[in-house]
Symmetry: C2
Subunit: 193 residues, 2 copies
C-alpha cells in the first residue's frame, strides 16, 4: 500500500531496450518511502520491452507529460535503451532545463555518459557511471568518482549500474523525504550493502 | 542480446501483488548469464500488477505451462503476491513435486515461509527468508540461517528479500551454468556486495 510522504514527484523514463531493474529497483525504494513516481514510456505507446525482454506497461507516454509536475527526471541505463533516451528530443530538452536548475536529474549506468556527459551537463561536476563509460565523464569536462555506487553533485545524481540501483534509490529518498527515511527503508528492503 | 549457455530452464511465477524487483533482479542475472527463463503469470491472463503498481506482461500463463520443460521453479515474494502463489493449486502441487526431487525450488522474501515452510517443505532443511517471516522456518521444522543473503540446502534455495535478490540470481547461475559464470557476471551488473 502506498503512503505518500512528499509532494515531490519522480518521472522515470523507460525506452525499448532499457535495463528494467535499474529503473524498477530505484522506483521500488521510492514507492516504499512514499515518493510519488510515474513510469513514462518514450515510445509512441505505454508498452516497452526491456533489454532483458521484460514487457512493462508504463503509467504514461511522454507526449502526455507535463514536466512541471515533476521534481526529478530519472534516466535508467541499458542498451539500446540509453541511446534511445539520448535521441528523444522532447526528453533531452527537458533534461537540459532540469540540469540547468529547474529540478534534479538522476541517471544510472550508461545514462550519465550517453545522455548527460555527451550533452555537456557534467562539465565541472563530480559524477559516476557504468565502468565501461566512465572515461566519457572526464572527456566531457567532469570529475570521475569511480569508487562510489552513487555520486551527488548539486542537482545531478549519478550511479554505476544494476548492482548499485538500490543506492541511487536511497539517495533520492534522502533528498526527497529525509536522510532518516532512507535509513528507515533499509530493513524493509533487506538492504545488504 | 541473449546468448544461451545451458539447456536448463527457469520458470518465474508472477502473481498480482508480487515484489517485481525480487523477480526481475534474479531474472536479470540469469538472462545476462545465458540461462533461459520464462515469466509465468498465475492470473488468468499474461498481465500482472505488482505490489508497487508496476504492470508486467508475462511470457506465459500457468495453464499453458508444461512443468517438465523446466528445471527450476522460482517464487518471488511481496504481498499479497506470495499469498496468491500459496493459493494457486496448479503451482503448489508442482512445487511439492519439484521439492521432492523433480527439480530445484528457489524462493525469496515471504515465499520460503508462506509457500514452502507452511507446506512442510523446509522440514529438516537449512533455509532463510524475509526477517519478518523467519520464525516460521523453525516453527515448521526447518533450520533458520539468518545471517546469509541466500541459503542452499540440496534442491531448495532461499533468500531474504529485495536487497538480496542479486545474490539469489548469482547462486542460480552458479548451479545452472558454473561458479565461474557467477563470478564473470558480477562486473557486468556492477555487483556492489
Amino acid at each position: 500500500m502506498f503512503k505518500q510522504t512528499t509532494n515531490r514527484r519522480v518521472a522515470a523514463f523507460l525506452a525499448d531496450g532499457c535495463e528494467e531493474v535499474e529503473a524498477l529497483a530505484v522506483l521500488d525504494v521510492l514507492f516504499r518511502s512514499g515518493v510519488p513516481c510515474d513510469t513514462v514510456s518514450i515510445t509512441g505507446n505505454r508498452d516497452i520491452v526491456s533489454s532483458h525482454e521484460i514487457h512493462v506497461t508504463c503509467d504514461k507516454t511522454i507526449d502526455q507529460l507535463n514536466f512541471d509536475d515533476y521534481d526529478v527526471l530519472f534516466l535508467p541505463g541499458g542498451m539500446p535503451g540509453t541511446t534511445n533516451l539520448a535521441a528523444c528530443q522532447p526528453l533531452v530538452s527537458q533534461v537540459d532545463r532540469f540540469a540547468a536548475g529547474a529540478g534534479i536529474v538522476a541517471a544510472i549506468c550508461a545514462a550519465p555518459a550517453v545522455v548527460l556527459a555527451r550533452r555537456g551537463l557534467l562539465k565541472g561536476r563530480r559524477a559516476t557511471s557504468n565502468p565501461n563509460f566512465q572515461h566519457e565523464i572526464a572527456e566531457n569536462g567532469g570529475t570521475l568518482v569511480a569508487d562510489q555506487p552513487v555520486v551527488r553533485d548539486g542537482n545531478i545524481i549519478t550511479s554505476q549500474g544494476m548492482g548499485t540501483a538500490i543506492y541511487l534509490g536511497l539517495e533520492l529518498v534522502s533528498e526527497l523525504v529525509s536522510p532518516q527515511a532512507a535509513e528507515d527503508v533499509k530493513p524493509r528492503i533487506v538492504f545488504w550493502g
